[in-house]
Subunit: 208 residues, 2 copies
Amino acid sequence: MLTLHDNLGSGNAYKVRLLLAHLAVPFRRIDYDVTTGETRTPAFLALNPNGRIPVIEFDDGRVLAESNAILCYFAEETPYLPTDRFQRAQALQWLFFEQYSHEPFIAVARYWRHYIWDQVQGDAAKEAALAEKMERGHQALALMEQHLEDRAFLVGDSYSIADIALYAYSHVADEGGFELAGYPALRRWLDRVADQPGHVLITQDSFA
Amino acid sequence: MLTLHDNLGSGNAYKVRLLLAHLAVPFRRIDYDVTTGETRTPAFLALNPNGRIPVIEFDDGRVLAESNAILCYFAEETPYLPTDRFQRAQALQWLFFEQYSHEPFIAVARYWRHYIWDQVQGDAAKEAALAEKMERGHQALALMEQHLEDRAFLVGDSYSIADIALYAYSHVADEGGFELAGYPALRRWLDRVADQPGHVLITQDSFA
């Protein structure tokens, strides 16, 4: 059986859980506490030298890191990856946008506020960095809002790994202090994603 | 003919120029000065709402942004994208690593030192941020060094878009203040990439 090196609070890990749930691919989870360095031990670094979850481990010992690369691997030849070459590239465009222009602001703001606030609050440098993350996170949300104004999904006419990747942290952006009231198209899209058959919550921990 | 919305100093744009040169795909370049906001004009934002080069524009007006998504698009069914499914996922793993754990530190340190140093020098907050970027940039280079110690290329046995994507900013890391003497395997790999048939320099501006 596949092993997902996982963390139940991580949106990056949730992407993988959500796609595997849609695909009805069974896997077992090993949970790591990322706040106490459990992904920086020698054993974990042997698995992923970059010290990050998620990592997927196959029965034969091969491993794959980077949530969006894992999504691409499992989505191949399924309805979750467009068959059209240009649309496939558009899906990748959204995945790279997510890792460069969305996750570093929204996910990190959420992590700071939701998980390690006692280490951030009162630290002037961190609070200034947080203010910048809020500004750039709102830029990412505004870009998504504009794109979704006349579209049901991010790419083409159907739900794909682009939606899964962007949903992961967008749907918990409020935990990072992002108020979503000003993004009505984005909120409708969040509901549309949550309505997909086989959807699971970020908190769901059993996939037997 | 393809139009590349470009900047000759940008490693992200260079990735696209390098792959298209290998593939002997002709394109014309439009150069933007990213230091003066030329990618934030209404005309440019209509092309790419994220306000970043590179953007590739097809004859029919379709556009694609995100350097690594553009690489994937043009590499499909060429020797620059592995045919094996797992190796293809490994190439994507490196592309996402590049955008999340390499470019934000090495490319930004280079941009600050090489292009806008007068806005950074003496600004205590920026100098502290630069010190953190140097530390995390060295972590990325050390991870590459470890991986390349017993390998000729990043994925499998041949040169791929993973090498192109990581080469772009690694080969000019010295302009960001990164001393590469301590990374001998990485330096041999840089030479190996530069020896590939059809290689072009980051400064090459003519591709007729």
